[in-house]
Amino acid sequence: MLAYQIRIAWSSLRRTPVLSALLVAGIALGVAVATTFVTTFHVLAADPIPGKSDRLFYVQVDNWSPERPWDRDRPQEPPDQLAWREVQGLLASEIPTRQAGMFKANLTVHPRGQAERPFRALTRVTNADFFEMFDVPFLYGGPWDSVAEADRAPVVVLDEATNRRLFGGEDGVGETVRIEDRDFTVVGVLAPWTPRPKFFDVTNGALEEPEALYVPLGLTPDMELSSAGNRSNWKPFDGEDYADFLESESVWLQMWVELPTEEQRQAYEDFLAAYVREQQALGRLTRPVNNRLRDVREWLTVEEVVPPEARSMLIIGLLFLLVCSINLIGILLGKFLGRAPEVGVRRALGASRGAVFGQHLVECEVVGLLGGAVGIALSAVVLRVLNRLFTEDVELFALDLTMLGAGVALALVAGLIAGLYPAWRICRVAPATYLKQQ
């Protein structure tokens, strides 16, 4: 029966092409707007690392000025990054299952041969645990080992695009790459990996793509690496060299720990508090103890990765779809009532009210699906434009299967909203009324 109803609906739509186009356009517009905002919200609000997000914790320690908080609007908040000294001190803990300090650098890569010129590559300077902690997939090789970590060995992990650029996509593991002033050995090549949002470093842009290179954090002092991300100070730097900078209160690193159990979490909080008290005894960290351990979702919320505007736009998008649907009620009602004589005939031939209602609802859903298809296509175009506007061509906002499903669902709901009342009205038509009007 459904196939028959769809056939009738299709025939009805073809009978009035202009009206049908208007109906489809109305739904398409609503679905396009709603799907775009739902997708935007979905990307920003999604759990970037399902299954682990509640056991990965971002570490914050308040090393800010004793006279003023780091954030005047949120005085209870400690700085959103750590100083080098804190990261080094905290990495000494054996409580976390895994841990990684990190920052973003911008390093120069010198390809072999003369054919290609040196290029700058965003680099994540971090610990080996980074890869396992964040479930980073490898195409070739793997993370550097603990020996390389301890020895501060010049090893590097490349992302897939850089491996392709340097080695033509062949397995680059074991090859040598010159980065800045020294040769690095490639130990791993990542498979395509685009966590959305880039949760491990939202302070420097939640919408950015992951870095192209990954090198050990231990190389930082030797290579005098500087951050390509945000850096904050509460007092002027008065040191003379890079070693002084590393000892300063400047905050520019992020740190994550993996604490799978509540006991580990409690122990690590105690460890943090003890660390701060120890530093206070040494004359540092003069503010009251104000540490934070926030899991992934909590950290994204604090950092407003999903801006309040996105939530508002989501609601506006859905309301827009509702308005579009409501506007179509009148058109559908007119269209259906215009077909009342045919309905009268069908009723005379045995169609029940339910059958007539169902048939017209199916027609509305066919309109909804057609409008949905156009709307989803429009939404894909709009999302592409948004990517260009806000993320420098990164495919951050994209219609994945979930969003395609959401688009279809929105289209069906829109069809339902638009069609319920007209379908109900036409099924209430007395069959005898129109039989003489054919």
Binding site: M1, Y4, S11, S12, R14, R15, P341, E342, G344, V345, R346, R347, A348, L349, G350, A351, S352, R353, G354, A355, A430, P431, A432, L435, K436, Q438
Partner: protein
């Protein structure tokens, strides 16, 4: 087949009440061929609509094929229309988007029959009306007489026990009208009860039994005993129209 007793039907607007059927009593036995005549507004179509469960009535009782229809649900009435009644209308009432096959298919679709069975029934019905070569023609490609033949095929495809025809020859020339009436007579001869509204006395005279209506009442008949016939307040029908 049809048992109506003192059935009334009133159409109400804001200022006017129209008694389309007033204490209307009639009985039609299975296998009968009955024609209904009367001037415009006499209630013929209302009678057919009520008889065909296309309209509800306000008073009295109505048993169709032994079943009291007064308290049936819409679904039950639809099922009866689908399974027991075939309708033929003056203006054919074919669905213009559908070809002959699909038009005849409509009642079978609501009966939920399988494709093979429907095809067989459709081809048989269309053959009965002599339009097998026009199965994929649309109504606009057919003459008036052919369209009414399709309507007849649609009415009989479900093998109903009762055919209700509302002026089925009203839009046809006399040759085509005779043709359609011949079809109805064949259908009746096969055992199907036929009730036909017509304005044409010649066609009406071909039926074994005629009913005359005026102001929603039975005015003249060959067997039923309607009260209005003996109501002195009511005008008597012109004897020339009586049988």
């Amino acid at each position: 087949m049809i048992r109506m007793e003192r059935v009334s039907k009133v159409y109400r607007t804001e200022h006017v009440e129209t008694h389309a059927l007033s204490s209307f009593t009639v009985a039609v036995d299975p296998g009968e061929f009955v024609t209904v005549m009367g001037p415009s507004g006499s209630g013929k179509t209302t009678f057919l609509n009520v008889a065909g469960l296309l309209d509800v009535f306000d008073g009295g009782s109505y048993r169709l094929d032994g079943e009291d229809v007064a308290k049936l649900s819409d679904r039950a009435m639809s099922r009866i229309r689908n399974e027991k009644i075939g309708f033929i209308f003056q203006s054919f009432n074919l669905i213009p988007d559908l070809d002959v096959f699909d038009n005849v298919d409509v009642p079978l679709r609501y009966r939920g029959l399988g494709g093979r069975e429907r095809k067989s029934l459709i081809e048989e019905a269309v053959a009965t009306v002599g339009l097998s070569s026009r199965l994929r023609h649309h109504p606009s490609q057919l003459s008036g007489g052919q369209q009414q033949r399709v309507a007849v095929a649609r009415a009989i495809v479900g093998r109903p026990r009762l055919i209700l025809a509302d002026e089925p020859t009203g839009n046809l020339d006399s040759a085509m009208a005779t043709d359609i009436l011949g079809l109805l007579e064949e259908i009746n001869a096969a055992g199907t009860t036929v009730v036909m509204v017509t304005h044409d006395p010649e066609l009406a005279a071909r039926a074994p039994r005629q009913i005359h209506m005026l102001d929603g009442r039975l005015m003249d008949f060959s067997r039923d005993v309607p009260a209005p016939l003996f109501d002195p307040a009511r005008p008597r029908l012109d004897p020339a129209l009586s049988l």
